[in-house]
Symmetry: none
Subunit: 231 residues, 2 copies
């Protein structure tokens, strides 16, 4: 399903700029130019994230947020001019999940959008069993059938290997320390279990990587832990 993002700012130039960045990342972009319009669109459309300016005519971002929050729990990112610190605080209390100050760095915008969406879908995926398929690039896990595909090839993992990979792919991009991995899978304190996990990592790599010595999916982050690249 395509992710829809509603962008709301009274300055069309900013809306257009954000649209371009988000479109490039593969999101569907809806546009509004004041708070009322945003509220209307959210009633009709299925939107996963709202980016809204604080200072706007008609209905400002804060009042709009209050109204929206009455019926919708979607994540909201506020836009604000650099020094509007008061607004910042107000906005966060009103139910915004993050904020970006103008002028903003496009990469930062994208990163914050992704982080907000991830937090949101993480919470949502608990109720909807819809999310059983996780993937990153040529790597795919179907948690219903327990099938793992790497570059089109089916891969047979042992239960522990499967659980580790599932954890990492479900949270692709996020780095897990060896202890975190151990505690997540074994449900007990990790003491002297570092090699255990390391060996499983090795086995997983042997099975899913074309070249285990130079892994493209399961990467080490030195001194920190492992992650599955968000491809």
């Amino acid at each position: 399903m395509m992710t829809s993002i509603l962008v709301c700012d009274d300055d069309p130039k900013i809306v257009d700029a954000i649209e371009i960045y988000l479109y490039k990342e593969g999101y569907r972009v809806l546009k509004a130019y004041d708070g009322e319009e945003a509220v209307e669109i959210l009633k009709k459309e299925n939107v996963q994230l709202l980016i809204i300016d604080i200072m706007m005519p008609k209905m400002d971002g804060i009042r709009a947020t209050v109204k929206i929050r009455e019926t919708n729990a979607l994540p909201i990112i506020f836009l604000s001019a650099k020094s509007e610190d008061t607004d910042k605080v107000l906005g966060l209390n009103m139910g915004a999940d993050d904020y970006i100050t103008k002028p903003f760095n496009p990469l930062e915008l994208i990163a914050r959008v992704k982080a907000a969406l991830r937090r949101y879908t993480m919470l949502g995926s608990l109720d909807t069993d819809n999310n059983v398929i996780f993937s990153s690039g040529g790597l795919m896990i179907n948690d219903e059938t327990k099938e793992v595909l790497a570059d089109g090839e089916e891969v047979r993992l042992t239960p522990i290997e499967y659980q580790i990979l599932l954890l990492l792919v479900k949270n692709k991009g996020k780095v897990f320390s060896i202890d975190q991995i151990y505690e997540n899978i074994w449900n007990e304190e990790a003491i002297g279990a570092d090699n255990t996990v390391a060996v499983h990592i090795r086995h997983i790599r042997e099975k899913i990587e074309i070249n285990p010595k130079d892994p493209k999916y399961l990467k080490v982050v030195w001194g920190v832990g492992y992650k599955v690249e968000n491809l």
Copy 2:
């Protein structure tokens, strides 16, 4: 999310008593028995409130508070024996938000805890806690993926380099002395460690700066320390 409270007193009886009161109210209670321990725990755990005794061996409550305030804005409630009025005043100037005199009334403790937490969450604590993305101009750190982008380019930092840069970007604009940096990252006293930090600074600059000789992000403040410019 569960609210965590760190209780720090050198008298285990008092810590245990407070734990019981707070636990009944549904809070998660962490325990420390001197200032150093408290500082350690606050670095690792996500804590929303600190209750700390003033008179303690090793590192007393006031020095601990000063240290903690360098990086953490959580509310602090001081515990003090009845007549230590001087300490009381000192503590409040040091960034404590409230104080309770021993022996205390459990109901009063709970009331003050709730009041402090309310004030804190009102002020948008989301800034640093929920946030995993920190940026300054063209510099961006995502602490979840441990990715660092400088002018759009991904940069590979070693763990120590990463931690130093994260500290500076999280507190952009603020100057840290070499000793402060050392103590924050290594968790031990900085003695003769100035060159060590300087070398890491150099390495970070080599990686994130276009021209390391004329750095635009990681600047030196002569005779004081280093900071990341608040761009």
